[in-house]
Amino acid sequence: MTVTVRHSEMGALLGFAERQLYVYKRYWVWEVVWLFYSVVSVLSIGFLASGLGTLGAGGESFDLRKAQLYLLVGALLWGYLSLVFMEAAYAIAWERWEGTIEYTFMAPVRRMTHLMGICLFAIGYGLARTFIVLLVAVAIFNIDFSHANVAGALLVLAASIVPLIGLAILTSVLPLLSPQKGEQMSFAVQGFMLLVSGVYYPLSVLPMPLQVAGAASPLTYALSGMRRSLLEGAGVGDQLPTVGILLAMGAALIPAGILVFSWAERRAKRLGLLKRSG
């Protein structure tokens, strides 16, 4: 009995991913445009860095190539993180527009499976797309990875998936809480993350309250860890504390996300907030 149940949960997980793939296939023109846009925004950050010298930034200690790499890492990672956010946060909002939300919520699938299916697909897709952008950026800016420790960077990237899933689930709750204002809230949350997580600058430049918020954001640790490996060559051993922090945050965020989501679902069913028609 349990075996068949688990089997169909796996099937459902696959089903959510497959559904997204079909959707992207239909909207492939948009996907190409989004990809183009990601490339452009990363490139423009790279060129911005190239131009810093002529803008008078400089002095003995200023290392243009390092600044460029610093900013590029930020741009690439932010592109990836914001994509995952959007995908996960919109998964619910989008089903509401389509009118399929009740169908999906009526399916004999654990909510955990549903949410994991959406998040894992978003992460896989985000990584694939970011990899393409990375290739373009490397080709254009001759990025020097000679000081980089790729294994360390990949370890941090992998560990960051765990808290990211938790965050994504938490944002996807918003459209369930408020059909009218939930999506806007998801946007606002995303913007706030961009501000406090040290995407383009060290946290130390921020006012104190924002620094505190930044310290609570897992993205901060993911970004600074990746930078330490890519810019300063921090190896796997050096990254263990960062990995520990990321996993610990994930261990808190994922259960919290699922709890909040199931509370929101119960609330929506009590108040009649799932899409209604007829």
């Binding site: 089903g15 009740e102 009526m106 399916a107 209604r276």
Partner: protein
């Protein structure tokens, strides 16, 4: 005796909404309770087609949603094949499927893609899925060249048939149909009704169908519940109801019970 397909005891449901009194300033909006379903008891034995008849706003969809675990009742308990719709929702969902007024599809995806998604969610996907999908669509009289076109290019009638086909694919024991023929042209309507007749004859699946079409109910349902304002006013075989309430048709019975025709809508403002 076997476990009833549906067993409802004292279920009621009200929705809270913020509403502005006529003439009140725009910022003054008070909470108001709108009762969608007054306390209801209902038992439906497995097999056969049971109809819920009532004008718009009478609470038909609310009842269907409660049985489909999409709404939690305020009071009472509802069970589907013995499973509680709130406490054992996952079990209930394994055995229930709903076909709703507007076909709930990913409109950019094709019927096939939508149906594979359904099959995966219900754990019935496998190598034979394509063949089964084709079989069911043929049974419903859907031209097979639409199977790989985006749903949005299909007519309403075709979409509704795909919705019914999709529900067959997941092999439910209880099929909830919320106005499956509303808005269809006469021919599609007839075809959908033929499918329902086949189902009734087979008796392997219990069907609960909402409609505000009296003739449809008369033709298809062996048992009819008449609802108005969230209450069940009459319950029985169509012929029986006509006899007891002295109407020539169900339409007449409804008139007799409520003084209204079925077309009259309850005053209702549409939630944004």
């Amino acid at each position: 005796m076997s476990i009833p397909a549906i067993e409802i005891q004292g279920v009621s449901k009200a929705f809270r909404r913020r509403e502005r009194e006529a003439g009140a300033p725009w910022w003054r909006r008070d909470w108001k309770d709108k009762v969608a379903l007054h306390e209801l008891d209902l038992i439906v034995q497995p097999g056969g087609v049971t109809g819920i008849l009532g004008p718009n706003g009478s609470g038909k969809s609310t009842l269907i949603r409660i049985l489909g675990t999409l709404l939690t009742p305020d009071t009472g308990t509802a069970r589907v094949f013995g499973w509680d719709v709130v406490k054992e929702a996952l079990q209930v969902r394994r055995h229930v499927n709903r076909v709703s007024v507007e076909a709930a599809f990913f409109k950019e995806l094709s019927p096939w893609e939508n149906m594979v998604y359904a099959a995966r969610l219900y754990g019935s996907a496998g190598s034979g899925t394509r063949r089964r999908v084709v079989e069911i669509l043929e049974l419903l009289g859907l031209p097979l060249d639409v199977i790989d076109q985006p749903m949005k290019q299909l007519s309403r009638g075709q979409q509704q048939k795909v919705a019914i086909a999709r529900s067959f694919l997941t092999a439910p024991s209880l099929l909830l149909m919320d106005e499956p023929t509303t808005g269809l042209d006469p021919r599609s309507k007839k075809e959908v009704q033929t499918v329902l007749e086949t189902l009734r004859a087979e008796r392997e699946i219990t069907v609960l169908v909402c409609t505000h079409d009296m003739n449809e109910a008369e033709a298809l349902c062996e048992r009819v519940l008449m609802m108005d304002g969230g209450r069940v006013l009459a319950d029985g075989r169509p012929a029986e109801l006509c006899r007891i309430h002295g109407g020539a048709t169900l339409e007449g019975v409804f008139m007799h019970l409520t003084g209204k025709t079925l077309e009259a809508e309850e005053p209702e403002e549409v939630a944004p």
